[in-house]
Symmetry: C2
Subunit: 231 residues, 2 copies
DNA sequence: ACAAAAGTGTTAAGAATACACCCATGT
DNA sequence: ACATGGGTGTATTCTTAACACTTTTGT
């Protein structure tokens, strides 16, 4: 049974990316409209096939870069989907990844009109997706919520400089609940992983609000001292 | 790029199982000694190849049943490992699963001596494993610790009837730390998901200790009322 | 002067932790 | 009678949650 390779069936392997973004108000997801069969015209996640010379992480990076042009994106593997009939055309096992991209750094999406049209949707207004992609998105949301509480991944979704209010809005969008302003700020400051700038953002109010940066060095130092990030 | 299936490479897909057990004292892992190449004679996880007519969960079930004869085992998918050179003989992508089996229900292991010899190891005394199996085990331990705090999975590893002390020892083994007896019992009782029997286990002491059963109905009712299990 | 968002601490409630003695029984 | 593990409750600390007013400044 396991003592030989010769009798193994072979499979097409795909990656599908759940791409999250944030526009300072709502959590978004990037979807593409399929311009090819099967399920032409329907919305789906961005995906691609694994190639012999790469591993799954690299395939996900490649797919993401093709669509967004972005490199060094936060990507995390989620789950392998393998139902025999999940893809009606051909047996395909797909490994899902979720990506966090900072909407303000994001250049135009590679929407070449030929293969697919890409579009940002509010996470709660996304259309029905093909295959098992709806389940993939639900799963990704759960993981995102969990991760947001145990790793400072939120910063991946924000511009380099951001206000406390933006950070709070992001966490509210991820967790799906309102948070208390003072408690939130106290908690964040208690973590001591932000650098407060002298600069203010004057867009949101007359008074202006101070900008902060995530201090990755401080964070890494704390983690290596055994500090456990917990929001 | 994604608009056709024809140019896709194909891959051998495997599942590898991290099989945890508990002997009332230590957390154990079931490993097999390979009697075939590559890496003949070395210890590894139990694995097998995915077949066309099944999905990954089914493949993991099959592999596990072949080894242990057990059905209805708790199995959870963990991660897809896909390094190009992870298996020196042939490009193989492997999806890891962890399994929890109740050592007392476990019949003899299917150790047929021809293909492999299976052996239980204390988790902290396990030998070096082939390929990336060491990483798979580390990953599985982390997931097990997390799950143990948020789902009553511990009960999968115990006999149907068990004492509080057994339950506590199990959690201590999983979490790798000593717990306070009174606090532990208070917490467990606070969850109100156990059924206390009139029966006593007379093996562990002269006085005897009451046996308990996990009440799955109560648990499910609580969960569907929105109760969040948190140990 | 007022509208609109920023900024700032304290108190109360709840959760987690530390801790020590008596009980039942077989030998 | 004693040795062994079983069983039980309270006080303290820490963490989390609730809560309201003043500041700044552009119009």
């Amino acid at each position: 049974m396991i003592n030989s390779y010769q009798d193994g069936d072979k499979f097409t392997l795909a990656v599908d990316c759940i791409i999250f973004g944030f526009d300072n108000e709502k959590l978004k997801i990037l979807l593409i409209k399929r311009d090819f069969e099967p399920e032409k015209g329907k919305w789906s996640l961005m995906g691609g096939f694994l190639r012999k010379e790469e591993n799954l992480d690299e395939a996900a990076d490649r797919v993401l870069q093709h669509l967004t042009g972005l490199d060094n994106v936060y990507l995390e593997q989620l789950h392998a989907y393998s139902a025999v009939d999940r893809d009606p055309l051909e047996r395909t096992v797909s490994v899902s990844y979720y990506a966090l991209i900072n909407a303000s750094t994001t250049p135009e999406i590679n929407d070449d009109g030929e293969q697919y049209a890409a579009h940002w949707f509010n996470i709660d207004e996304a259309p029905e997706l093909i295959f098992d992609h709806n389940a993939m998105v639900r799963h990704a949301m759960n993981r995102l919520r969990y991760r947001a509480l145990t790793k400072p991944i939120g910063f991946e979704l924000l511009p380099e400089k951001f206000t406390m209010r933006q950070l709070q809005s992001l966490y509210e969008a991820i967790l799906g609940e309102k948070l208390d302003k003072r408690n939130f700020i106290n908690k964040i400051n208690g973590l001591d992983i932000l650098h407060k700038l002298d600069e203010k953002d004057m867009n949101s109010s007359r008074k202006g609000s101070f900008l902060y940066m995530f201090d990755e060095l401080k964070y890494n130092a704390k983690v290596s001292e055994g500090f456990i990030f917990k929001l």
